[in-house]
């Protein structure tokens, strides 16, 4: 089947999609967007988190056909057109929140969505919002630091 949807503001099309393919597979293998990660492919780890019409979802659990005509935003769309990192991306780099980095794209998409509706989250809010994203390297402390840092910088208009 053919699937057409918008990815990071651009219309995209994939042909010969098998009905069982996930949105994650189509993004990674058919659209050249491997930023969304394939850590568990069963909706437990959050590494493949993208926004579907603005709502964070595990793209491994979304059938490609369900996305027909809809809007998808991935980690590749977070930075500006000029390549300038967004506040949350820069904060992850600066705070040491990235080690192996495999969980990072999913966490960034989830954290970006959190800060969009809650610009100054408490630690409890951050933990709750990111509780669907597994990280095996960091022990999460630097990830908390990064979200706090991004919130602080954004709040200061930096």
């Amino acid at each position: 089947m053919r699937v057409t949807f918008t990815v990071n503001g651009r219309p995209q099309e994939a042909d010969d999609v098998w009905e069982g393919e996930s949105l994650l597979y189509v993004l990674r293998e058919r659209m050249g967007l491997p930023g969304s990660k394939n850590a568990c492919e069963q909706g437990e780890c959050g590494s493949c988190t993208v926004r579907l019409d603005g709502v964070p979802v595990c793209s491994c659990l979304v059938a490609a056909g369900q996305v027909q005509g809809r809007r998808v935003d991935t980690v590749e769309g977070l930075a500006g057109e000029d390549g300038e990192l967004s506040a949350i991306q820069q904060a992850f780099v600066d705070a040491g929140a990235v080690q192996c980095g495999f969980c990072t794209p999913g966490l960034l998409v989830a954290a970006d969505e959190l800060l969009e509706h809650n610009p100054s989250p408490s630690d409890g809010d951050i933990r709750e919002a990111l509780s669907g994203n597994l990280c095996r390297c960091t022990g999460y402390e630097k990830i908390l630091d990064a979200v706090r840092l991004a919130a602080a910088r954004t709040g200061q208009g930096v």
Binding site: N38, Q42, C100, T104, P105, R127, S131, R136, T138
Partner: protein
């Protein structure tokens, strides 16, 4: 939920910006936050096929027949391979003992063993074709524990063993056994006023790295293959892969692709040989990516263990003796089991002074999943048990558990059970003092002005309590881990460093085969080059097999070893640069001949700070390019009867304090804070050091309260190969982890540094267990602790 920041007390000394001691940022950070960093599962090649591995559905069985005809006839399938298709006489691989079949032959020895391979034009086509392969099994008795492995009539997991351990093991189903006898434990026991014994069980932990096993094999025109893969040690892979393919090593060109975590789980091969076989058979590039289910079968796990301990002490709190026996389950193949046994035995009594010991550690061959390397191996299991014992003895003596540990703590100069003298700082008592002196989190820390924050309570968002039935406990633990490869292994790393002028500026290029698995080795290499060569621009080349071996990214060794190699080569490059300078400019200034010269800030300077020349002017068009090996001081094998020998290079120490709240009615645990103090010798990158300690601490927390691969004791089948059923800590399960970093230099190591990656994984688990015991009054002799262990139901 307070804020933990990188300690500011760490010294930051570097004349050249971005040098050692600074928290410089990862060079791969931007790529990783934009999604552009290419992990091994992201690789793509025109015309590539997808490989899939058919694995055994039973744990121990003879293979009666394999019928691949229907799979081969499937549209879109390019190849189906079994044992019979292997191209050479070399059909096994292994880290130390080549006992692992590339594809099963005659029988399978564990659940999930690779039996056949398929290459097809779509991953789903490959999976469905593999499902059409008919394998007929004839069940064999299943060996699952020490009793069944060493029974007189036990079936041998491996018949006809000819490895170098078979001569000294008491049974062919024992991979390796290491006793350590020192002093006279029987006589010392007579001096003991209290004797405490216990039996402990450590569950099977998974590394659970997030990036699945994966890689891309591309057949080359010269008949060789280019392999892009995520691994921990390129050259070890190469040594195992090339003979199976029948290719010289130079025709198997390996490049490290992005590695999504490792923690020991990538020390053994996974898809490497399989991908190359399919690529060479089909003449097309082949990509293999495991899903999470397969990943649980695709790598070895942490050895589960049973441990028996007896500790004696005098009334004034001095340990008299320790007797212990540690039985590790190595599963179906040897993997790193011999080294795990060596660590478990030599580190079995922990960081304490005990003159009289009687120690035995061994690893079994069974039909359980193969176990091998995972962060802290051997030492992790022992630490769980000896720290439980230390609390028990302290309780028996009526002593404070921290004070009891401090009374018996080792220090520099202490002699280990192996007879090895600890010849660098061992601040065990001080680490304990530091975690103990931290203020405790406030009582009823879940209370807010708006009521109970359930996220800070046991049960969390399940909203099972608002504080009713919740009891706090506090526990301590400390551990000791060896750094680097031990027991006489020729452990070395190679670094190639080039210095030249590009666009008028001196640039250093560092090339090593070090596997960057997330730890930040690439960051540190650039820092070392800046400090040693006085440049600001450093290029880190991708890791591949075109340069000499860097050894493994394991055993907490890479900053010491490949970092040491980079330092060592940089020093030699610096001498060459200074020689050039002396030739070109020596006649202009006497200091060229008389002073100690350094490279700093792009200049040649004297140790008095006087600038003599720009490095760019010294080099002109010359290129200085050196590749050198670096070795740590040699170690010795442990005597097979007495366990004596200077087996280790360096020791690493960490201590934890755990604060938990336990819902005693439901058996749920909330770890509120897990404070760590660790001696790192020298923090080359303080931000990364703290990140390693927090990450290691969290993996220790996981195996304390949730992580365990459950293997059916009757069938040896794995029951929970998924992140739905094998739980690792989420950000809600993980507490605040304040870190206190000591820097007591080890004069034998580069910059005085100490390998840091593993030590925090040791003491984290027993500290949490101790805290839960204090809260509940229960004995809790196994980890992980599950709710039923706390409620008794």
């Amino acid at each position: 939920m307070g804020i933990t920041r990188t300690p500011t007390s760490l010294t930051q000394s570097s004349a050249t910006r971005g040098g050692i001691g600074e928290s410089t940022l990862r060079p791969d950070g931007t790529l990783k936050v934009t999604g552009e960093f290419a992990y091994s599962s992201d690789l793509w090649h025109e015309d590539m096929l997808w490989g899939y591995t058919l694995r055994s559905t039973v744990a121990h069985a003879a293979i009666v027949s394999i019928d691949t005809s229907e799979a081969l006839a499937t549209s879109g399938v390019y190849a189906v391979l079994t044992y019979d298709d292997l191209p050479t006489e070399v059909k096994h691989y292994g880290l130390e003992i080549r006992d692992t079949p590339v594809l099963a032959h005659g029988k399978v020895r564990h659940h999930g063993e690779p039996v056949a391979l398929v290459a097809a034009d779509h991953p789903e086509t490959a999976r469905r074709a593999a499902a059409k392969i008919r394998v007929e099994y004839d069940a064999l008795p299943v060996i699952t524990d020490e009793a069944s492995a060493t029974a007189p009539d036990a079936v041998l997991v491996h018949e006809g063993r000819d490895d170098h351990h078979i001569g000294h093991v008491p049974h062919p189903n024992i991979v390796h056994r290491q006793p350590i006898v020192r002093g006279d434990a029987d006589r010392a026991a007579e001096r003991a006023d209290v004797v405490v014994s216990g039996e402990y069980v450590f569950g099977m932990q998974d590394q659970a790295f997030l990036g699945p096993e994966s890689g891309l094999a591309v057949p080359a025109e010269d008949g060789g293959v280019d392999l892009y893969v995520a691994t921990q040690w390129l050259h070890s892979d190469l040594r195992q892969i090339a003979p199976v393919l029948g290719l010289p090593e130079r025709k198997v060109r390996m490049t490290l692709s992005g590695v999504g975590g490792a923690f020991g789980g990538r020390e053994d091969l996974s898809m490497q040989i399989h991908g190359c076989l399919l690529a060479l058979r089909t003449g097309k590039p082949v990509k293999i990516v495991y899903n999470r289910f397969e990943s649980f079968f695709g790598h070895v796990h942490r050895h589960p263990a049973r441990l028996w301990y007896e500790h004696g002490a005098t009334r004034n709190g001095k340990l008299t003796h320790v007797r212990c026996r540690i039985v590790l389950d190595g599963g179906a193949y040897a993997s790193a089991s011999p080294a795990v046994v060596g660590n478990a035995a030599s580190l079995s009594i922990g960081p304490y002074v005990v003159e009289d010991v009687d120690i035995e550690a061994l690893a079994l061959y069974t039909n359980n999943p193969p176990c091998g390397a995972m962060r802290g191996f051997g030492a992790v299991q022992a630490c769980f048990a000896y720290e439980a014992q230390m609390d028990k003895v302290a309780a028996e003596l009526g002593m404070d558990p921290v004070e009891f540990r401090q009374v018996n703590a080792m220090e520099q100069g202490t002699v280990m059970p192996t007879g090895q003298t600890v010849d660098s700082p061992a601040p065990v008592a001080e680490l304990l003092r530091r975690v103990k002196s931290r203020p405790l989190p406030p009582e009823r820390q879940w209370e807010t002005t708006e009521g109970a924050d359930v996220r800070a309570l046991p049960g969390g968002l399940s909203n099972t309590t608002h504080g009713e039935g919740v009891v706090r406990g506090v526990g301590y633990a400390v551990g000791i881990k060896n750094v680097g490869f031990s027991e006489g292994f020729d452990d070395y790393s190679t670094a190639r460093v080039r210095m030249q002028v590009i666009n008028g500026e001196p640039v250093a290029t560092v090339h090593t085969a070090m596997a960057e698995v997330g730890q930040g080795g690439v960051t540190v290499h650039a820092q070392i080059a800046r400090s040693e060569l006085g440049v600001t621009q450093v290029t880190i080349q991708p890791a591949d097999t075109q340069v000499g071996s860097a050894g493994s990214t394991s055993a907490s060794r890479q900053t010491y070893m490949t970092g040491g190699a980079v330092k060592n080569t940089c020093e030699a490059v610096r001498e060459k640069v200074l020689d050039l300078g002396r030739r070109r400019f020596g006649s202009y200034h006497p200091a060229w001949a008389t002073a100690e010269l350094l490279l700093e800030g792009g200049k040649v300077v004297t140790d008095g700070g006087e600038a003599l020349a720009d490095i760019a002017d010294v080099l002109e068009d010359d290129v200085v390019d050196l590749e050198l090996e670096f070795r740590h001081r040699p170690t010795q094998a442990f005597d097979l009867r007495t366990g004596q020998g200077n087996g280790h290079v360096q020791y690493s120490f960490a201590a934890h304090r755990a604060v938990v709240e336990v819902d005693t009615e439901l058996g749920l645990v909330k770890v509120v804070e897990l404070a760590c103090a660790q001696d790192v010798g020298k923090a080359l990158n303080p931000l990364s050091v703290v990140g390693q300690i927090q990450g290691g601490t969290t993996q220790g927390l996981g195996v304390a309260v949730m992580e365990e691969i459950v293997v059916d004791p009757k069938t040896a089948l794995v029951r929970n190969p998924s992140f739905t059923d094998y739980l690792i800590p989420t950000i809600l399960d993980t507490p605040t982890i304040p870190v206190d970093v000591l820097e007591l230099a080890d004069e034998h190591a580069p910059y005085g540094l100490r390998g840091i990656g593993e030590a925090p994984t040791l003491s984290s688990t027993p500290a949490v267990l101790a805290a839960i015991r204090q809260a509940t009054g229960l004995e809790l002799n196994r980890t992980p602790v599950r709710p039923e262990h706390l409620t008794g139901s």
